[in-house]
Amino acid sequence: MVTVRVEDVSFCYDRKKVLDRINFTAEQGEITAVIGPNGAGKSTLLKTIAKIVQPDSGEIFFDEKRLSRMRKEDVSRIVSYLPQDNVIPGILTVFEVVMLGRIPYLNWRIGEEDLKITVKVMKELGIDNYAKRYANKLSGGERQVVLVAQALVREPEVLLLDEPVSNLDIRNKLEILELIRKITKEKKMTTILVLHDLNLAAMYADKVIILSGGRVYARGKPYEVLSEDVLSSVYGIEAEIRRNGEKIQVIPLRPVKCDGKRQF
């Protein structure tokens, strides 16, 4: 298993700085949640770690290996990335969609090992009962679970999930995040999630990275970094934070003016 180290990563799109000297480390066996307002660069950060976009400067390390020197094929065997978009076009059964996650390992004839892992993951996520259904006929929430299964079926060392629970009801949200936490701990995976729900980030993340305007505004344990002042600066909201030891609960109250100051 690997530790992901992001060092001074910057990325521009259409002359706009989307990521500006980002630094952080995501440890194995931990969930790191990336939070921040829309357009803060959260998704782009995940894409740079998945080698889908190349940073303009800086470097990402998987342990001591430089990502820039790794082949895409090799990265795809270590990293599993689930994009925001949960559309599944075409006539593909749920089973096929999940199994496509194993493409880096698949031969023309599918091996028994690939089938076994696919079935195991589908059972863990409770989608084995609709294995034969067409994925494009599922509800948005069901599709999201199928795509999470597709990300897990590769048995990655680094799991990158961009808003993995955004279309799910509250029970499904909790179930999926519980499962992600369980797998992360058991398999010592390095998991980086983009989340919009601050309470879920506080509940499930071991570490939180707050992005604002392409920069790291704050980082640390959820109870350390999530405060009324931070939420006011980053999101422009007035919120109440209830604390119970290391557990915290964010109650958003109303929008306020944002000053956008930076701590890191």
Partner: protein, 345 residues
């Protein structure tokens, strides 16, 4: 429990193999009927016997010199266009993409018209090959132009579709200009070529189409998983370690070869590249391991059926097959769309 899923997977696997076998059997039946039908009608036995041993001199000549090349050409060109249409729809993520809609056929038509109007030959080949070679050259040139546009603006499906449509309009207008200045006789030849016809088929031409079809389909089959993953969208495919841009270029080169070789010998047959992949997809799903042979066979079925119909509609005369395929294909296609599975795209 795992065994149960393995069994389900096997069931789906063998069901798809079964559908492909059915397509193959239908192809064979249509090929035999195509050999039997014509101004000199022949029964199944006499066709079979005269294919092996020349008993009836006239029938042997008719079958070997005329019908067999036509039949083989119908199967192979239909297969090539079916495969080209499938891959075009897949890499562009667009159900309306086909060699015709992206201007490759228009390029071929312009090349043929240049040969008819000016007698110009883009490559030093004998006179009888002027039209097919020009058609091949311009069809291939169209694909290269589409790729050039892709190189400038990025190989996204939107760029390629819009570039292809622009080039189609360009070649259509240049073709209209040539037709405007052409003599009546030349104009007739151009229009007839544009209809699409199997009448100039020969065994060597069929061998060339076979070689291209065999090589490209083998190359595409070896990349079947990666091509299937393109249907999940660019970002997902990239995250699976696929170089999406390079894959699009590779597949576009295969499409160029298939389409150019197919249309240069028989003219423009518009409908097959669009309908054959949809027919196959409805029964075989999105898995390219099955969809590639399925689309080839469906394309062969549609063109063979068209070839038979072109001979029997008016006894003693042969209708251009391009007109027939659209006439029989459109209602069939509409039936599939209206009554078939929803949410294909």
């Amino acid at each position: 429990m795992e065994t149960e899923y393995y069994r389900i997977y096997k069931t789906v696997f063998y069901r798809r193999i079964f559908f492909i076998s059915v397509f193959a059997v239908v192809c064979f039946i249509l090929a035999v009927v195509d050999l039997m039908v014509g101004p000199i009608s022949a029964c199944f036995c006499s066709v079979l016997i005269n294919l092996m041993y020349p008993q009836n001199e006239t029938l042997h000549v008719v079958i070997w010199d005329y019908r067999l090349p036509w039949t083989l050409m119908a199967l192979l060109v239909g297969g090539a266009l079916g495969l080209a249409g499938l891959e075009m729809q897949t890499i562009l993520n667009n159900p309306l993409a086909s060699p015709y809609t992206l201007g490759i056929s228009a390029g071929a038509g312009f090349g043929a018209a240049v040969a008819y109007v000016f007698g110009l030959n883009v490559l030093p080949v004998p006179l009888e090959f002027t039209v097919p070679v020009n058609a091949f050259f311009f069809a291939f040139l169209t694909c290269m132009l589409i790729m050039f546009i892709g190189k400038i603006r990025g190989f996204t499906s939107e760029t390629l579709v819009l570039g292809g449509i622009a080039i189609a309009f360009l070649f259509h207008s240049m073709l209209a200009l040539l037709e405007y200045f052409a003599s009546e006789e030349t104009l007739q030849a151009i229009v007839f070529w544009m209809f699409g016809s199997l009448t100039k088929s020969t065994l060597p031409k069929a061998q060339i189409v076979f070689a291209v079809l065999a090589l490209t389909s083998a190359a595409l089959m070896s990349r079947s998983w990666k091509i299937t993953a393109l249907r999940l969208g660019d970002e997902k495919a990239k995250s699976l370690g696929i170089n999406v841009e390079r894959m699009r270029i590779e597949v576009l080169i295969y499409i160029s070869l298939l389409t150019s070789v197919a249309v240069c010998f028989v003219g423009i047959i518009a409908f097959i590249g669009l309908v054959a992949p949809h027919m196959a997809r409805i029964l075989l799903g999105e898995d390219q391991r099955f969809l590639i042979p399925g689309s080839i066979l469906c394309g062969a079925i549609v063109l063979s059926a068209g070839a038979i119909a072109s001979k029997v509609i008016v006894p003693g005369a042969i209708f251009p097959v391009g007109i027939i395929t659209s006439m029989i294909g459109v209602p069939f296609f509409l039936l599939l769309v209206v009554r078939g599975r929803k949410h294909i795209w």
